[in-house]
């Protein structure tokens, strides 16, 4: 249990997808104009991460890793190493999950679907999502619960980041920012400053 809490807290604050790795920046910058849409986007990312990481964990451990196939198909497969396929397999899982999320959101919240626009299908190529799966591969979790908690935690961290920057962007909407920096420029600067503040968690040992 303590291990799970550790992983969760770590993936939210210490290994924050946006401020520690600067992953998932495209939708982070694209959909963060208002708080309400960014909340929708954030939940979609949490959902996708919470599903794809455990599925990819299973794929990794029962199909892709060296010798993993032997667990299912017997000893004759124990020399086979399919890990070169991991990128394409992970992406395939992610893309299909995003399709699912898209259909769900379109059905239940057409307004949100409209405001997320192109960025919803683009979750499929959101590097935070693929990044979480690849970090999962690196971190060698001992069971699927840990992988799920890691996925959810990364999602929550990303959610916090996008909601916070959306609130800041709403606040500075009428600020007298130098013309050259309006829009994306100032958002990059804010993200950097937020990164400094999030440095407070770097180095925490749990």
């Amino acid at each position: 249990m303590q291990e799970l809490v550790n992983i969760f807290i770590k993936s939210i604050f210490i290994d924050n997808m946006v401020f520690a790795y600067f992953l998932g920046m495209c939708s982070y910058l694209g959909v963060s104009k208002t708080v309400s849409t960014s909340v929708g986007m954030g939940f979609a990312v949490i959902f996708v991460l919470g599903i794809t990481v455990p599925i990819n964990y299973l794929l990794e451990n029962y199909v892709l890793r060296e010798g993993a196939l032997s667990l299912l198909l017997g000893d004759s497969f124990k020399d086979i190493d399919l890990s070169f396929l991991s990128f394409i397999m992970f992406i395939a899982v992610i893309a299909s999950m995003v399709q699912l999320v898209e259909m769900i959101i379109e059905k239940f919240s057409p307004a949100l679907y409209g405001s997320l626009g192109i960025f919803l299908p683009l979750i499929a190529v959101n590097c935070a999502i693929l990044g979480a799966s690849l970090f999962m591969q690196e971190k060698d979790f001992s069971n699927i619960t840990e992988a799920t908690v890691y996925g959810l935690g990364s999602g929550v961290g990303w959610f916090l980041a996008i909601v916070a920057i959306a609130a800041i962007r709403e606040k500075i909407r009428y600020s007298n920012i130098p013309p050259a920096l309006r829009g994306l420029g100032i958002t990059y600067i804010i993200t950097g400053l937020m990164g400094i503040a999030f440095m407070s968690f770097m180095g925490i040992k749990l």
Binding site: V35, V163, A164, A167, I168, E170, K171, I172, S175, N176, I177, P178, L181, I186, I189, I190, G192, L193, M194, I196, A197, F198, M199, S200, F201, M202, G203, I204, K205, L206
Partner: protein
């Protein structure tokens, strides 16, 4: 005063539209309004009429900082006399600190105001007095030994990236003074932490000038430390640390001035202390490492907790704007400050980063407080 008025009136035509120095009008305007109450009024829209304006507000904060500045100067000399073993009179100690601290203030103001004026002239906006406070806070949060060029760089970073790119005073999202300190802290860590920087010339004779927090973080026992520093040392502030942060007495004096004039928000100060006490008390019960088993009331007195709560967290621009939000904002600052202190071995002091972190989330807190209010009223209207 009449001399100034005449002088200003004499050179005014040069700066007005069509004059030779038309472009420098913001600079002229800054000096004129600094010395005299401006007499122009707005002629459109509705405005609240009040005797206090930005300049007067900022000036009150400077007044509130004076006890900290004076005490800090004396403490610099006092710590030096302990470290070097030189016997110095009270006046000598103050003098020593005064001449050490003065360059920091001069550099901070000169560099910061130069950047500020440059931006005002370039962009044609007014020079705002926000920097008067920031320029005083920055040296107060620095170790006394910080090289002046580092101070200058951090001031430039704070004013340009922390404030001017957002459009100047009142628009920034992070407290500029803390931005400067965080910049130095991450860019030149060896000058901003450890046991050599807090006391002038401490490195010369191997005297350990570590702050109390630094000692605790290196797992020194709380009991053995309380032999070295008594509680009254911490309360009066005769301990090593950043220039302005050590004395509770000076900070409380400053806090009273801020609260009495209504410039600082009592909600934020109160809830920050509550949050810090709550978290430290929880950790006392847990008692996992030395910092955790340090008594909660001591936690509030050491390091920059009190200084940050009174002068940094209450910054009206970067704090939560709503009253309910202020409670949440302050409470979380206290909680995070103690959390970072105890859990993060890399940073013995968590106050700076806790305030920066909550500065980031303040707009979000406000958003949801306002939204909740809107929803409540909508419900009342439609039933």
């Amino acid at each position: 005063m009449k001399v100034f008025r005449n002088l200003l009136d004499g050179i005014k035509p040069n700066f007005e539209k069509g004059g030779k120095l038309e472009k420098l009008y913001p600079a002229y305007d800054a000096f004129e309004t600094f010395l005299f109450v401006p007499d122009h009024t707005t002629n459109e829209g509705t405005h609240i009429k009040d005797a206090i304006d930005l300049k007067r507000t900022m000036f009150m904060v400077i007044v509130a900082l004076i006890p900290c500045v004076l005490f800090g100067m004396w403490n610099v000399g006092y710590q030096y006399s302990i470290a070097s073993g030189e016997s110095m009179t009270f006046i000598q100690q103050f003098n020593f600190g005064f001449w050490k601290f003065l360059p920091l203030i001069i550099v901070s103001y000169a560099v910061g105001l130069a950047v500020e004026f440059a931006f005002a002239v370039l962009r044609g906006h007014q020079v705002n007095e926000g920097y008067l406070v920031t320029g005083m806070l920055i040296p107060l949060t620095m170790p006394i030994d910080v090289p002046l060029w580092m101070l200058a760089i951090s001031v430039i970073f704070a004013v340009v990236i922390g404030k001017e790119v957002f459009g100047g005073t009142g628009m920034n999202i992070l407290n500029p003074a803390l931005t400067a300190r965080a910049f130095l802290f991450f860019a030149y860590p060896s000058w901003m932490s450890g046991d050599k920087v807090w006391v002038q010339n401490a490195s010369v004779d191997g005297y350990s000038g570590a702050t109390i927090l630094g000692d605790l973080a290196s797992s020194m026992n709380w009991q053995s430390l309380s032999g070295q520093w008594s509680i009254s040392d911490m309360f009066f502030g005769t301990i090593p640390g950043s220039v302005g942060e050590t004395s509770m007495v000076a900070i409380i004096l400053g806090a009273l001035i801020l609260l009495f004039t209504g410039v600082g928000s009592w909600r934020i100060i109160l809830s920050t202390f509550l949050g810090g006490y709550f978290m430290a008390y929880l950790f006392n019960l847990w008692g996992y490492n030395e910092l955790m088993s340090t008594p909660a009331h001591i936690h509030l007195m050491i390091g920059s907790f009190a200084f940050g709560a009174v002068f940094m967290a209450t910054d009206p621009v970067t704090a939560s704007q709503t009253n309910k939000g202020k409670y949440i904002y302050g409470f979380l600052i206290g909680v995070f400050a103690i959390l970072i202190r105890t859990f993060n071995p890399a940073y013995p002091e968590g106050m700076m980063l806790a305030i920066l972190l909550m500065n980031i989330f303040a707009p979000l807190i406000d958003h949801y407080i306002v939204q909740a209010n809107v929803n409540k009223r909508l419900k009342r209207a439609t039933v």
